[in-house]
């Protein structure tokens, strides 16, 4: 009798960690072709369940079937043909651990990002719609999503902002705290300006204003974000009217300097006026720091320092995340082992019944009840013990999972 699941799980994939963009593009599965790709894999012999996670940074195929080597060969032949050196393959516990890590944002380009959670959910939805999932695949993905959520709740892996635009918003928060009473002027309506504006709007900024040399461009950016537009010529008085000035404009010479602020008689506030310069070359002159009205200037170097700090804070959480992933992997394998035991338990029940009937048949008149019942108990116990021993040998523990995953565990990764 065995308690091992009779199905194998294999994960084969490429990601930004293993392959360049060209290879990733070659292996990627378009949304429109996802259903066909899922069915094609599912129709191959030896494949019971299939799911494909395909994002701009990764394509991973998860297969469940009776034979792991067949599953791996199927994935290699179909989706990853000719890219043997760039792919990674995980079997069983390692595959579970990897998927949980993906869902937690550990394998994302931006550590801890949460978009992947939705992408994994979409992948499961697509596979369900295509009818290529079964009980294990579904429980695996549900568990992965739950683990991703737990990791983000219990650790700071997603805390702090790790993009320049959001770091700018972080800095503003450290000066002003609440955004609802803050007004921000964005000088430049390019991609960066719009991104900063979007972050500010998301944080509930009180008043948002765009200005740009080409007014039409500022109007377009402002329309989407519900912002005001002011002419570029009115820069100095507008700086006076706003608490925060974000410069993201291409200019040969700085467009904001101390002379401009002094000339416009820009008033001093209760907290420093914040100038954020995300332009290269600088759009805000360094002498703004000497402005008597108290200006606080943050350039790209400062923003990079904030991003690095937040990134380090996320990395510092990897140990905690590792422990959660190991625990959840163990739980999942435990649940799988229990599910796989169902037929074994049925067999055990049948065997007990056989023994009982055998015992009843042997029991004749005048049998010593005490001795006979002890005999029955011993027989049942012998069968049960044999099953337990086998189960104990094959059941997984955290240590067993850790051993299986040696070299993959985040804590152990240099």
């Amino acid at each position: 009798m065995t308690v091992v699941p009779d199905s194998a799980l294999v994960l084969v994939g490429v990601s930004h960690e293993s392959a360049g963009l060209d290879i990733r593009q070659r292996c990627a599965v378009e949304k429109t072709g996802l259903e066909a790709a899922l069915r094609e894999l599912r129709d191959r012999s030896g494949v019971d369940e299939v799911c494909i996670v395909s994002t701009c940074n990764r394509t991973e195929v998860l297969l469940i079937g009776p034979d792991a080597s067949v599953l791996e060969a199927t994935a290699r032949e179909t989706r990853f043909s000719g890219v043997d050196s760039e792919i990674y393959v995980h079997h069983g516990a390692a595959a579970v651990f990897h998927l949980f890590g993906v869902c937690s944002g550990l394998h994302s380009m931006v550590l801890g990002e949460s978009e992947i959670q939705a992408q994994v959910k979409d992948a499961l939805g697509a596979a369900q719609a295509a009818g290529t999932t079964g009980p294990w695949m579904e429980s695996l993905f549900q568990h992965a999503l739950k683990t991703g959520k737990r990791v983000r709740t219990e650790t700071a892996i997603s805390s702090g902002n790790v993009s320049v635009a959001s770091a700018a918003v972080d800095l503003i928060a450290r000066v002003h705290g609440r955004f609802d009473r803050v007004s921000a002027l964005i000088v430049g309506a390019g991609e960066t300006g719009v991104r900063v504006g979007t972050h500010l709007r998301a944080r509930g900024i009180g008043r948002l204003t765009f200005t740009n040399r080409t007014l039409a461009r500022a109007e377009a950016a402002a329309r989407d974000l519900g912002a005001e537009v002011v002419p570029f010529d009115a820069l100095a008085p507008e700086i006076d009217r706003h608490d925060v000035v974000v410069a993201c404009v291409e200019a040969e010479r700085p467009v904001i300097d101390k002379a401009l602020l002094d000339g416009a008689r820009v008033r001093r506030g209760d907290v420093p006026k914040v100038f954020i310069d995300v332009s290269v070359p600088r759009a805000v002159a360094v002498d703004v720091r000497d402005w008597k009205g108290d200006g606080m200037l943050f350039d790209l170097d400062a923003l990079d320092a904030v991003v690095a700090r937040n990134r380090d804070a996320r990395k510092a959480e990897l140990g905690k995340v590792d422990a959660i992933l190991l625990e959840e992997t163990r739980k999942h394998l435990g649940v799988r082992a229990y599910a796989a035991m169902a037929p074994a338990l049925t067999t055990l029940g049948d065997r007990f019944e056989e023994i009982r009937l055998e015992w009843l048949a042997k029991r004749g008149a005048g049998t010593d009840i005490d001795a006979a019942s002890r005999d029955l108990a011993n027989r049942l116990l012998a069968v049960a013990l044999a099953s337990v021993k086998e189960g104990a040998r094959l059941m997984t523990s955290v240590e067993a999972v850790r051993k299986t995953l040696r070299g993959q565990s985040w804590k152990e990764t240099p």
């Binding site: 000066v175 705290g177 506030g269 209760d270 907290v271 108290d294 606080m296 320092a305």
Partner: protein, 277 residues
């Protein structure tokens, strides 16, 4: 029975404040923003001990135990702690708590040590106006000390951001606007209390013909200077005289002057004003 309970409360106060300091420091380090039940319990228990101590002492002595050095330090610690709790309750700067609990712990430990060495601290019974004088002066001192602490933290965070060092200070302290608002708010309350306490003190000194009192006494002059300084800091926004950073510098300076004033009042011979006189 009351004397046992009062003494016990006096002994437990430093312990409770130490517990609060550890708790707040841990939350500051972790950057926790949610108020935990355990935190609330620590704060409530400490405030309860203060109430028990003051009530018991007043009952036993027939007068509030404020005029001795130890009593004044305890009152100052209580005010610091209670004002911070109120500020926090009003949605103010929570990470400030650790910067209040630690000084309150030190004040209370000093007071407890003084009480242990001289348990029968002599206090003259001076009537209601005298009690009001002490209570308002201690309250204003605590407010202004808190404003000074906010000023120092404001300057530390401001400097850290200007220098581009985004470490624990950057992540842990309240934002500049919040520190500035707390600074101005506590300065405003402190200014009002000091106006009452200072004038009442002068009137009492005249009325009771206190030995050695003169308007040129260093404590009288320094207290007036502090009163004026915090009046300028606390000015309403329409006639605001100082910007955020200048107000923070002024409040930090005011904190030092208040500490000097307290020390001067504790050392005989420097001024006409002494705690137990």
């Amino acid at each position: 029975m009351i004397d046992v309970v009062t003494s016990l409360a006096g002994v437990l106060l430093p312990v409770a404040l130490f517990g609060c300091s550890m708790r707040f420091a841990d939350e500051f380090r972790k950057g926790t923003s949610a108020t935990s039940d355990r935190r609330t319990t620590w704060v409530a228990a400490t405030l309860f001990l203060y109430v028990v101590f003051f009530s018991g002492a007043a009952w036993m002595r027939g007068a509030p135990p404020f005029s001795g050095v130890a009593g004044f330090l305890t009152l100052l610690g209580f005010y610091l702690f209670a004002i911070q709790a109120v500020v926090e309750r009003l949605g103010g700067a929570k990470p400030l708590a650790v910067f209040v609990a630690v000084p309150a712990f030190l004040l209370e430990t000093t007071a407890a040590a003084m009480r242990a060495s001289a348990p029968l601290e002599e206090t003259a019974k001076r009537g209601l106006l005298f009690t009001v004088h002490i209570v308002t002066i201690a309250g204003s001192s605590a407010c202004l000390l808190l404003a000074g602490a906010c000023g120092i933290l404001y300057l530390v965070l401001d400097r850290s951001m200007r220098k581009g060092t985004f470490g624990v200070v950057f992540g842990g302290l309240p934002d500049l606007a919040e520190l500035g608002a707390t600074l101005r708010g506590t300065a405003r309350v402190g200014f009002v209390l000091m106006t009452v306490g200072y004038n009442l003190g002068i009137w009492l000194a005249h009325d009771e013909k206190t030995t050695g009192f003169r308007y040129t006494d260093p404590t009288v002059l320094l207290t007036f200077a502090v009163w004026l300084l915090f009046g300028v800091i606390a000015a309403p926004s329409r006639i605001r005289l100082l910007g955020g950073r200048t107000a923070a510098r002024a409040a930090a300076g005011g904190l030092l002057v208040i500490v000097v004033l307290i020390v001067m009042s504790a050392i005989p011979g420097i001024s006409f004003h002494r705690f137990t006189s």
